[in-house]
Amino acid sequence: MELLSSLKIGSLIIALARHAAKDSMSALISELAVRGEVTVLDGGNRFSAYQVAGMIRRKTVHVESAARRLFIRRAFTCYQMVSLLEDTPAIPTQPYLILDLLATFYDDQVQPHEAERLLNICLQQIERLRFTSPIAISLAPPLLPERTFLVEQVCRNADQVFTLEIQPQAEQLALFK
């Protein structure tokens, strides 16, 4: 799986796709959980508990122990996303998967400049975690083109950006390396 092989300490990979690459991320999460501890920060209700449990079961009978190593925290507003990242401790080598990071930033109740400011704080925290851990972030295309700048902001410091499906409406981003 491309995502898995790209995960290295210090690397930041991004998957940009419809539904924030839900199935691919679930597969990645289940594989990582079988191997060791993993932390998932879910920013857009993209974590499917039973789907991941089922995928783990297909890899091992020891579902329970894998499930106990898989940590999840959910954010329902962009302020909560900031909070989550600010108090996530950097555990060396443990991978961090941030699902649909921007979902709560697309909310039209949040002003664009405020979204930008909060996202910057998030990205700073991600840089902190990146020092000692591999990071994968999934993104869904924005509902409104005015928020595309947020996607660019996130991708700016990425090592690799995977677009797993191209949505006709989504703007072509110039950042793919």
Partner: protein, 90 residues
């Protein structure tokens, strides 16, 4: 008002997803068998609460128990009927 949480799908939804994953299996069955097949899932749906209470990572395993429970009930009912018939016929 968006309520936080409730991101894990319900048992009912999970059963529906499992059913749709089994759609190719079902399709290849004869129509009469399809009806019985649907009945198996209906049996599971009569015990959604118990399946949920188990809080299992793999709810279908608990669903199978519910299905077996319903079958056991059917068998018990049939045995009861047989007894009654035997008694009536002396």
């Amino acid at each position: 008002m968006i309520i936080m949480g409730r991101t894990v799908i319900t048992i009912t939804q999970q059963l529906t997803e499992t059913e749709s994953m089994l759609a190719p299996f079902r399709r290849a069955l004869r129509r009469s068998d399809q009806y019985i097949f649907d009945g198996i899932f209906a049996a599971a749906r009569r015990h959604i609460t118990a399946i949920g209470q188990n809080e299992s990572l793999l709810p279908f395993e608990s669903a199978l128990l519910a299905i077996m429970l319903e079958q056991a009930k059917d068998i018990a009912a049939l045995q009861h009927e047989i007894e009654q018939i035997k008694q009536r016929n002396g």
